[in-house]
Each structure stands twice: as structure tokens, then as C-alpha cells.
């Protein structure tokens, strides 16, 4: 997948992006499209990371009925 993203797709695009008379790249479209794609990725990663953290905090809180004591509790190892 990494190879296809880094090498194959760009070369395909490059092959089709050769100068054809009367057809030029519209930088307004390309640049703004890139911006919106980047924003989508940024917000997706933000949602996944913050969602994971929120789940972690709720799931592993002490008061959760599903919480189980760790193997260190009661051994005195954590008392410093």
C-alpha cells in the first residue's frame, strides 16, 4: 500500500498530467482540494485520538464496576 501511494499513483497522475493543448491545471481547485482533504484527515485523526482517550479514562476509572485491582495493589510496591 505504501509503495502504491508513494510511487505508482503519482507516476500514473504524472503520466496523465502531461501538457495537452488547452488543458491546464487549475491551481485554485487543486490547492483548495488538498486543503480540504488535509482538514478531513486532521479532524479524523483528532476524533480517533481524543475518542480513544475519552474511552480510556471512562473505562479504566476506579469507580467502574468492571475495574479489577492490578497485581501491584496491596503489595506495598506502589507506596514509594
Amino acid at each position: 500500500m505504501v509503495l502504491s501511494i508513494l510511487i505508482i499513483l503519482p507516476s500514473l497522475q504524472y503520466a496523465f498530467a502531461q501538457d495537452e493543448p488547452g488543458e491546464y491545471m487549475d491551481r485554485r481547485v487543486e490547492i483548495w482540494n488538498l486543503f480540504f482533504r488535509m482538514m478531513t484527515v486532521a479532524f479524523t485523526i483528532g476524533a480517533v485520538v481524543s475518542g480513544t482517550l475519552i474511552w480510556l479514562v471512562i473505562r479504566f476509572r476506579e469507580s467502574n464496576p468492571k475495574a479489577t485491582p492490578t497485581k501491584y495493589e496491596g503489595t506495598g510496591e506502589l507506596d514509594g
Binding site: 487549475d26 485554485r28 485523526i45 480517533v48
Partner: protein, 142 residues
């Protein structure tokens, strides 16, 4: 630590790395496309100085503070400055390039829509920077 499975962590890392690679590849690819100047592009020399823009066409005609171009024709700007650093910007066409003394930077575009568009300096260059403007006139050939 070694007693529990790490598969979910590896999937998490894999997804994030894949997204980052995709972002990098997309940006790199667009950068390459944007820098690929068409061979038939007409060259316009753009000179910034405190506090106005001068344009010189291929046939030697010069314009100050305004630039007339033809719709649908590719243009390559060779941007430079005679004093301090400026930045040549046509906001509506997403053209932005620094004008640096002693250096020629290039940027190209095709005006697809006829009309009047603002040209503006985007690098603070002194007292009248705010008014270092120009007008781009895109003329319909038909």
C-alpha cells in the same frame, strides 16, 4: 508487559502511520504538479519595490500597478525585488510567491475567469505595505 496481546496497538499505529504517509504523498504530489510549468507559458517579470509592483511582458511592454493578461493563457511569473522582501499574491488565483532581492522565484497560473482581481503584497515591507496593491485584468479573448 509481554503477557498481553499488542495487536490492537499495532493496528492503531498502522492506521495513523498510513494516514500520515497518505498526507505526505498527497502534498508532495501536488507540490510537484504545481511546480510543473507548461512549456508554452508566457513569461512576465514581476518586480516588487517599496511600495508598488512593476510588470514586464515578453515583448518588453511594462505596466505599473496593473497587469493585463488573456483568459486561458498560461503565465509564468519571474518574481524579484529591488529593495526588501515582498510577497506577490493574487488571492483569487491562489498565487503567492516571495519577492527576494537578488533572486528570481517563479510561479505560474492560468486565468480561467475574466474580470478584475486584486494583487497584494503579503510580506510586511514597510510603512505603505498595506497599500502595495495592484489590479489584475483578465481579458476575454473572444
Amino acid at each position: 508487559m509481554s503477557s498481553h496481546s499488542h495487536w490492537s496497538e499495532w493496528i492503531y499505529i498502522g492506521v495513523v502511520v498510513a494516514l500520515l504517509v497518505w498526507v505526505g504523498a498527497e502534498a508532495w504530489n501536488l507540490e510537484r504538479l504545481v511546480e510543473h510549468v507548461p512549456e508554452d507559458a508566457k513569461v512576465i517579470k514581476v518586480t516588487g519595490q517599496q511600495w508598488f509592483w512593476t510588470f514586464e511582458h515578453e515583448d518588453g511592454t511594462k505596466e505599473v500597478g496593473e497587469l493585463h493578461v488573456k483568459k486561458g493563457v498560461p503565465y509564468k511569473f519571474e518574481v524579484t525585488s529591488t529593495d526588501v522582501i515582498h510577497s506577490f499574491n493574487i488571492h483569487d488565483y491562489v498565487v503567492l510567491m516571495d519577492a527576494v532581492p537578488g533572486r528570481i522565484n517563479t510561479v505560474w497560473f492560468v486565468p480561467f475567469d475574466a474580470g478584475e482581481f486584486d494583487i497584494q503584497c503579503r510580506e510586511y515591507c514597510g510603512l505603505i505595505h498595506y497599500n502595495m496593491r495592484g489590479t489584475l485584468y483578465v481579458e476575454d479573448d473572444a
